[in-house]
Symmetry: C3
């Protein structure tokens, strides 16, 4: 075994984009990383974020980062404003994770959960590709920054401090004594409808009412039961459960809730006792 793998000091880089799987766009990011940081392990978190959906990217990142090694560098490119004045940034967190991407909120759910320690603007020409295009900052600015971080370059070398990165604004659920009202904020690849009602919020309602009396409605649909898992529900009937996002989720066992209920992002969801 070589010095190389014993040192393997290099933190992994996890890549999240909305580039899809048809073109070379996602693969080229790994190529750029490999040129700069040949020993960094690269993990494709996903390239299937719905095009230009900053909210979807932010949610996916927020619910993923904890499961990766502590010093992972997350390279998140969901960037409808590429070529405009929006800033390219990197964030170091108290938890250890680093985040690289556009300053449009896509990094912020995760970065805030990890504790923002320092944010910088990626303005040092030294840590970009020599020629920077107007349309592909993922390749020319973000991937190089992630790779240099993996190589051990200090985040402060990448550019000036940014005091306050742009937050992501998500709709807040309304919680009263009798009910929680929220909405669908993400539809996953199985057609599960992820709401903005947190697991903690569901637990509070269970403390207030008998668990069996609680039900969930989406828009004007029929009341659904709350189950501990998908599999506790009958096949093919709609159910609500706390999903792996740790949010209340509406699903149809062995099918797609999106298709079966005809609901998507923005649909109103109510958790309350029956009757």
């Amino acid at each position: 075994m070589t010095t190389a793998s014993r040192n393997h000091a290099s933190a992994p880089i996890a890549i999240l984009t909305d580039f899809g799987y048809r073109d070379h766009y996602a693969g080229v990011l790994s190529g750029v990383v490999a040129r700069i940081a040949p020993n960094a392990r690269v993990i494709d978190l996903s390239h299937g974020i719905p095009p230009q959906s900053i909210t979807a990217g932010a949610l996916v990142l927020a619910h993923s980062w904890r499961f990766f090694p502590d010093r992972t560098i997350f390279l998140a490119v969901v960037d409808p404003g590429v070529g405009t004045e929006r800033l390219p940034i990197a964030i170091a967190s108290r938890a250890g994770a680093r985040f690289v991407g556009p300053d449009n909120g896509v990094l912020m759910l995760a970065a805030q959960a990890a504790g923002i320690q320092r944010a910088v603007v990626l303005e040092s020409a030294r840590y970009r590709l020599p020629a920077t295009s107007a349309t592909f900052h993922g390749r020319d600015i973000f991937a190089p920054a992630a790779a240099w971080l993996a190589r051990g370059v200090a985040i402060t070398s990448l550019g000036r401090a940014l005091p306050k990165p742009q937050p992501l604004k998500l709709p807040e659920p309304e919680e009263s004594a009798r009910q929680v009202q929220g909405e669908v904020i993400y539809v996953d690849g199985f057609g599960n409808l992820v709401t903005n009602i947190s697991g903690a919020s569901v637990v509070r309602m269970k403390a207030r009412f008998r668990e069996k009396s609680l039900s969930v409605r989406i828009e004007k649909g029929a009341a659904m039961n709350l189950y501990r898992s998908y599999a506790d529900a009958p096949v093919n009937s709609p159910l609500a459960t706390i999903g792996s996002f740790d949010f209340l989720e509406i699903a149809v066992r062995d099918s797609s809730a999106e298709r079966r209920l005809g609901c998507g992002v923005g649909a109103r969801v109510t958790l309350s006792p029956r009757g």
Copy 2:
């Protein structure tokens, strides 16, 4: 740094799921592996298995494992029963390959071909994530088990022995002196129709009859010729050949047999001499 990782003894982990490419579900498995076994090489075998299709997962695994390094750990998560009583298991094989996944048959075509040496139930809390969700055993139970195996933990440390994992039941073709009757069991991404008629079965028929006299019918369709390769057939006309699964396969050169013939899983297929 353990002896394991100094030697790069770490076996690769090949991941197969039905999670698709939209969400973070597949990527998070690699994150969990990287936390536990930072030096293990991870290969994405596929995340495109049709949702909850245990048969498709089992077939794909059965026709892949031989091409990987001998000690590869296959992490196969096609798991419609997540959260129910179905057991999480790991299997060690005489050929060297290890298999981790639910006890629903998805591992079994490959494991039986590799020779089952030992199966265990993944019940040791030490080799799971600290908190186990009801909906995402891939992340919380299966990926950690695969990673600990890659780290060199003995399979017997993961839990009690399981004498008899659940087999996968596939339809058997009926072979007589004059013909073989089977059915489509898998449609691949090119729209090729993979049947349960083995390459060996086709070879037996070729020994009994003149090769040129043999033909294949699907449902009540016209007789198709048997070719040595896709490319021997005229463009755009249906053909039968022994495909890379080593099963009789029905294809349309430069097109999709599924779409062109309007047939899918379950369609009856007959191999017999013409006339």
Copy 3:
């Protein structure tokens, strides 16, 4: 260069195919590589090339290779002629990159740009899998060749010299003093229409006419403005820009030009001054 990368002598392998993401076909290539070259880093460039589109594969490769490490081995399997007389080849380039795939042109845009130094036919049985199928040369011939190159085997060991690999024929734009006429040669995953009019050609037109006077038409559609970046254009209106392929590209900001303009591969595109 650190000790790390000096030792890690193994060049990375970047894989490009039209296998899609449903089956194991793409994953098995990585398995074969891992058996032969366990220390080679594998990067999935893309498996989403439109089925059997040699032009799309060639374009994607041509616009990717520069961004990878110098000695990268590109394994490109877009191979409608598998099982026919078309030759399996490998090419070494003056720039350092190596290319492995079928002799149907898919390698050639990249290889010519990198400077062809030597081409060989992959005929040595020693560097193939023991049994070679008629339908899956990616697994049986191409992946092993790439892996053996990564292991350090000389390209000349793989087989006899091939004096003249088949070129890829792309339509040439017609450039006159007043206008450039080209066509759409590729539609990317965002629905952007990539033409065969080069960035250099656009720059020449800008030198001849005032930049603001230039416009682009596709088929008989309305004239579009030429922008420096996607983001400079109003949302939802068609625009032309030099894209990341370094070709003139037609796009609709935050939408799909393919769908909005109803145009695809082959549509005529004209760049000229207005009026």
